[in-house]
C-alpha cells in the first residue's frame, strides 16, 4: 500500500490528466469524481512498483480508460456530451477553444482516445497501440479518420 505523501503527490500530478480522459467518456462531474476515486484507490492498493514515471502515467491512463468503460457499462449513460460537463470551464475557456473541445468530444468514442493521447499527451501511434492493446496500423487509421472528421466538423480550412 502506498504512503499518504506519495498518493497526494500523484493526485496533484495526475488529476488533471484523469479529468481530461473522463471528459472524453463521461457526462458529468459526479461520474468523474467516481472514476477519480476508483483510479486512485487502485493506485493506493497497487503493490507492484513502477519502472518510471512514464510507466506510472501509462498505467494510470489504462486504468482510467477501463474505469470509464466499466462505469458506462454499469449505469445507463447518454452517449451525447451535454454542456454540463464543461460548465466549470465555460467562463474561462475562449470560444474558439471551447469549439475545438466540443468538436473533439462529439467524435465517436474510438477516435477520441487516440486524438487526445496523440495531440495532447504526445504519445506515438506505437505507444498508443501498446497502451490500448491495438495494432499500430489501427491507431494510424483511427488518427487519420479522426483528423478527417475534425476537419469536416471544424470547417475544412484548418490544417489538422
Amino acid at each position: 500500500m502506498r504512503g499518504e505523501q506519495e498518493v497526494e503527490q500523484a493526485i496533484e500530478l495526475y488529476s488533471d490528466m484523469i479529468r481530461r480522459i473522463c471528459l472524453l467518456h463521461l457526462n458529468n462531474h459526479e461520474d468523474t469524481e467516481d472514476v477519480l476515486q476508483e483510479v486512485f484507490l487502485k493506485y493506493v492498493l497497487h503493490s507492484v512498483g513502477f519502472e518510471s514515471k512514464e510507466h506510472e502515467k501509462a498505467w494510470l491512463i489504462r486504468v482510467t480508460l477501463n474505469a470509464c468503460k466499466d462505469l458506462k457499462r454499469k449505469l445507463f449513460r447518454h452517449s451525447t456530451v451535454p454542456l454540463e460537463v464543461l460548465s466549470e470551464e465555460a467562463a474561462s475557456v475562449v470560444p474558439e477553444q471551447m469549439e475545438i473541445l466540443e468538436t473533439v468530444l462529439s467524435l465517436p468514442a474510438k477516435y477520441k482516445d487516440v486524438i487526445y493521447l496523440h495531440y495532447y499527451e504526445g504519445y506515438t501511434a506505437k505507444e498508443i497501440g501498446t497502451m490500448l492493446h491495438k495494432k499500430e496500423n489501427t491507431v494510424y487509421s483511427l488518427l487519420s479518420r479522426g483528423r478527417e472528421l475534425l476537419k469536416q466538423k471544424l470547417g475544412g480550412g484548418r490544417d489538422v
Binding site: V7, E8, I11, E12, S15, D16, I18, R19, R20, L23, H29, T32, E33, D34, L36, Q37, E38, F40, L41, K42, V44, V48, R62, V63, N66, K69, D70, L71, R73, K74, L75, F76, E88, E89, S92, V93, E96, Q97, M98, I100, L101, V104, I115, Y116, Y119, Y120, H133, K134, K135, E136, N137, T138, L150, L154, R158, D159, V160
Partner: protein
C-alpha cells in the same frame, strides 16, 4: 490545429472539489479498513438509483442494454461478449490484437449468445487459428452461469471443437479488465499464480493461450519449477506445435 487541440485540452483541470473528494474518499477508506471489513462501493448508491429508475418505468434499458453476463472466447484471439438479460450480445470486444482482427470480420451485436459464439468460432478469421487440434476456451461470468454453460456444452464449441467451457467469479471481471485480459486468460493466470509459476499479468498477456494451457497442464501434472526468463521468451514466441509461426500477441497479424 495541433497546438489548438493541445491548448484547448490544457484548459481542462480537475477542480479542487474533485481533488478534495478523492483525498476524503481515500482517507475514509483507510479508516474503514482499520475499523471494519465493510467496504463502501462508490457504484452501489448509483446502482440503487438506477434500480429505482427501472422500477419507475425506465425498463427498456434494463432488459435490452444492462450488462448482466460476460462470455470470453479464447483461442489465441481473445474476444469478450457482453450479454443483456435476454442473453443477447450488447458489445463484442477484442482483448488482444488477434481478437480485434477477428472482430473486423464478424458482426455479433444483437445476436443470441450461442449464435454469436458459434458464428465467431465458425468465422473464416477464427478458423485460421483453429488448426492443429487447437481448442477454444469459453469462460462465462453470470448469475446463471450453469444455464449458459449447459447451452455452450451442447453447442459446436464442445461437440465439434472439444472446447473447454467454464465459469469464473464476477469479481474477476474488473481485475481482468484492468489488466486488459480476457476472463479466460485471466483465470488461467490466476491458476498459474497459485501453482507458483511466477508469471505476471503482463507476461500472460504476451503468451498465446495455447502455451498458457500447456503450461497449466504441466503444473496440474506435478510441475513445481517456476518459469525462468529463457522459457518465458520461448512461451511468448508462439505455440510449440505451430513452431512459433502462427500466434502472436505483440506483433501485427494480418488475416487477409
Amino acid at each position: 490545429m495541433y497546438d489548438e487541440i493541445r491548448d484547448a485540452f490544457g484548459q481542462i483541470h480537475a477542480t479542487d472539489k474533485m481533488k478534495r473528494s478523492v483525498s476524503e474518499y481515500l482517507s475514509g477508506k483507510e479508516q474503514k479498513t482499520v475499523k471494519s471489513s465493510f467496504r463502501f462501493r462508490p457504484y452501489a448508491l448509483a446502482s440503487a438509483c438506477a434500480l429505482l429508475l427501472i422500477v419507475a418505468g425506465v425498463g427498456n434499458w434494463y432488459f435490452w442494454e444492462m450488462p448482466v453476463a460476460y462470455v470470453s472466447v479464447d483461442v489465441n484471439p481473445s474476444v469478450e461478449l457482453t450479454l443483456n438479460r435476454r442473453n443477447r450480445v450488447t458489445d463484442a470486444e477484442g482483448l488482444n490484437q488477434d481478437g480485434e482482427a477477428v472482430l473486423e470480420h464478424v458482426q455479433l451485436e444483437g445476436k443470441d449468445y450461442l449464435e454469436a459464439v458459434e458464428l465467431l468460432i465458425e468465422s473464416d478469421a477464427m478458423q485460421a487459428y483453429l488448426v492443429e487440434n487447437e481448442k477454444p476456451t469459453v469462460t462465462v461470468v453470470s448469475a446463471k452461469a450453469d444455464e449458459l454453460l449447459t447451452g455452450l456444452e451442447s453447442s459446436i464449441v464442445a461437440t465439434h471443437y472439444q472446447g473447454m467451457c467454464r465459469s469464473a467469479e464476477i469479481e474477476t471481471v474488473a481485475s481482468a479488465h484492468d489488466c486488459g485480459m480476457s476472463l479466460g486468460k485471466y483465470q488461467i493466470y490466476q491458476l498459474l499464480a497459485e501453482y507458483g509459476s511466477g508469471l505476471t499479468t503482463e507476461d500472460c498477456q504476451k503468451i498465446p493461450m495455447c502455451q498458457l494451457q500447456q503450461l497449466l497442464a504441466q503444473y496440474e501434472s506435478g510441475r513445481e519449477m517456476a518459469v525462468e526468463n529463457q522459457e518465458l521468451d520461448w512461451l511468448q514466441n508462439g505455440c510449440a506445435h505451430h513452431n512459433g509461426g502462427h500466434h502472436h500477441q505483440g506483433n501485427s497479424h494480418h488475416m487477409e
